[in-house]
Structures are given as C-alpha cells and as structure tokens.
Symmetry: C2
Subunit: 244 residues, 2 copies
C-alpha cells in the first residue's frame, strides 16, 4: 500500500490517496487520532472514483465526524483501471434492454454483476488487510453502499465485516439471493421507493431473504440518486450503534 497524496479537508479530516497492487484508493481518517478507530468501507457504483469523488468525500466527512475511518478502492474496469470488455458489453446490453422498456433478462444481470463480484470482493479484502495494518485503524469494520451484490458477498465471506449498510439500488442476480440467506451480520438496507433503475419487488424480496436477525429496511421517496440527508444520517447511526 503506497500513499500517493495527502491533504486536509475542513481541518478535521485527513484524506490520503493510495495504490494497492495498482488499484487506486482513498483513505479518510480523523486528523487527530488518540486510539485506533473502526473502519467503514465505502462502496460505490462502477462509474469511476473520479466521478464518484464528491459523493464519497461527503459520506466520508460524516463517517469521520462520527469517529470512524473511511476507505474506498476503485472497482475493476472503472476509472483509471484497465477497460474490461465483458463488463462493458454487459452494460451496453442492460442499457438496451432498459431502453426497450421490457424486463431485463437474468442472463444480462448475471453477466453484468457476477464477474464484478468475483473480481472486486478479493480486492476489497486485500485492501482490508492493508488498511487494518495501519496503526490508526482498528476494528470493527462496516461496509456501506455501492453495488449491493458486492456488499452481500463481502458480508458473507469476510468475517471482519461486522455490520453493513446496503443500498438496494441495483439489479441482483438470482444466485446472490442464496448468498443473502446466509448473511448473518446486522444490516441496514436503504431503498429508494421510486428508483428508476431498480425493481422494487425484487428489493423487498431480497430484504426478506437476508438471514440476519437484525435487519432494517429504510425506504424513502425519490429516485436512485435522491437518498435524502436524513436517510444517510440514519445509516450513520446504525454504524455508531454497531461498531462503537
């Protein structure tokens, strides 16, 4: 893990860019730390860290204000990472299917999401190894947002993730429902009731499927990008309740 830049946000937050095996990432920590802080991994859609930066930095500020560190890494095939032809093909297929207005074939969803999960999850776990070796970061670890199937897989296979905020805002392959049934960590699931790119009933079915004894569905009005501020604050409180 190599830090490549360092700056302060608002005096209170230290923002550092890093690379880990050529994967770019960003770490936000409290500017002054007296003891190791818990870590929240910030997920995001595969649009590139550059494009997602303003939203990620906004979330990181809140997380750090609550006494956590926050970190994220670039997804495979996004941002400055090498293009990934198969994923771009699947994305084009999805766009075409959605523009046609019909239901999206399972094959398209599988082709878009499953390879991303397979490749990204080991990278996030490797990032976790590196991040938790830093003296200013301890446990426990939470995962928040982004591609929900990545969050499901991470919550299932990574024992260091002890609570997750999942955003039910992207299509979920049928195979991930089986994994969801085996997830047991506390979950806070955000749903935008009128998400234009998502299937509400499938999101409700997914919430029902999760095996976690504590799971909360927090549905608010509006489209995919319209999560209201109070819903973000409720998610922050979920992490405070479980990780501190």
């Amino acid at each position: 893990m190599h830090f490549t830049s360092e700056r302060r946000l608002d005096d209170d937050v230290l923002e550092r860019e890093f690379t880990l095996d050529e994967i770019p990432g960003i770490l936000w920590t409290p500017a002054s730390v007296s003891a190791p802080v818990p870590l929240i991994l910030l997920g995001h859609p595969p649009l590139g860290l550059g494009k997602m930066y303003p939203r990620l930095a906004g979330r990181a500020r809140h997380v750090v204000a609550d006494g956590f560190a926050a970190a994220t890494i670039e997804l495979p095939g996004s941002g400055d990472r090498p293009r990934w032809a198969a994923i771009e093909q699947a994305r084009a297929d999805l766009r075409r299917a959605m523009q046609a207005g019909g239901p999206v074939d399972d094959e398209i969803v599988d082709a878009l999401v499953l390879p991303l999960v397979e490749k990204a999850v080991p990278e996030w776990r490797a990032a976790l190894d590196a991040l938790l070796s830093l003296p200013e970061i301890g446990g426990p670890v939470g995962y928040s947002g982004g591609v929900i199937s990545i969050g499901i897989r991470l919550a299932l296979v990574e024992p260091r993730v002890s609570a997750a905020v999942l955003f039910a805002g992207s299509l979920v392959p049928a195979a991930m429902f089986e994994e969801a049934r085996r997830v047991t960590v506390p979950l806070h699931v955000l749903l935008q009731w009128d998400d234009e790119g998502n299937d509400r009933q499938a999101a409700l079915d997914l919430f029902d499927a999760f095996g976690s004894e504590e799971k909360t569905l927090h549905a608010t009005m509006g489209g995919h990008a319209g999560v209201p501020q109070f819903a973000g604050e409720a998610a922050d409180r979920f992490f405070v309740r479980h990780l501190k």
Copy 2:
C-alpha cells in the same frame, strides 16, 4: 377538561390524568417549561389505557425528554368507557377468522375499524382543542402510533396535525386506502416485518398509497409487539426534525 391526578415521573416529567366529556386521558409535560412546547398525541390499540399504561408512559418519557408534551385519551369501548357491543362482536368475528387461518373478510375489517375511526377521531380533535388551550402547550402537533386507520383519518382531516408516525400493525379497510392517497403531511411508517396479526403486502401497498411527498418506511424484524428500541428512537428523531 378536568385534571384528576398529578404526579412526577423521574423528577423531569409531570404526569396528569384528566377527563374530557367523561373520556379519560393522560398528559405528560416537562416538569419545568419556559415556553410552550409542541404536542405529540400518542395513539394505542383498543386494549384500555390501564393495560397500555406502561408502554405509553415509556414512550411519553422519550417524547418529553425531546422537549415535547405527550397526551393520549381512552378509545371508545375500551378501558373504563362503556362497552360497545358492535365492536366487541366484530373483534370476536376477527378472532374467529384468524384462528381459522384463512384470509379475513373485508366486512369483518370494516365492521371492526370504520366505526372506531368515526367515533374516535372527533374525540381526539376535541382533546386537541382542550390541550392546545393550556398555556404550557403550543403547536405544532404530531400523531404517533396506535390504530393506523385513526392516524390516517386524523392526518387527513385535522390541519393541526403536521407530521405522523404510523404503525402499520393493524388491518386497514379498503376505504382507508382512498383517504391515505389524500394525506400530505410527512409520514414515518413503522412496519414489523413478521407481524403475526398484520398483512405485510397490504402494509406495503398502504405505504405506497400515501400521498405525502416525504414518507419513510422503517421496517424492522420481529412480531407485533417487538418494535426494537432503535426504531422508536428513529421515530422520535422524525418528530424532532418536523416539529421543532
């Protein structure tokens, strides 16, 4: 409005019982008030104030700690109020239908709920007149919990109610869906995902029906009486956001 008793809870809360046109009620206010405080009406199921007292007093303590007054009145046909044969018949019919395990006929739900709404809502509005005339209580007013159809009607017809926490935990007559579509105040809707006496899909349809621009569905695990403490706290924060 006649106060019939007065005592302190935990030093910080003044609890007064009252009657209003022979309807018993309870008012909780901060023990020391420098300016009029907003009011939250605490709804409850028709089991009698005596039986509901511990839960109501617990909610009132939280509400008063947030700087509100809280008040409730007995429902028609419950507690020390005169028996109401029609409602008791409907309740027996409902019990029989649920024990038989089949779906509950619309007629039974209508017979149980609609007369209660018709009779209770004017009583709560009269209580509001009396409560808002007290110097220690100002506006705005919130309504919280209890029989959801009463909350829907109150939110629709009572302009002084400016935000409501509704508990999707009882059967809703089809006619109330039409009223729900015309409700416009901010709503925070609680749903117990495995509520044994409720129809989850009907609750989701009801949430969808509400006309309010700001509405949040907060679904947590467990049965009817198992609303977790953090869900109650989230509802409290909703009122702080809208009434203060």
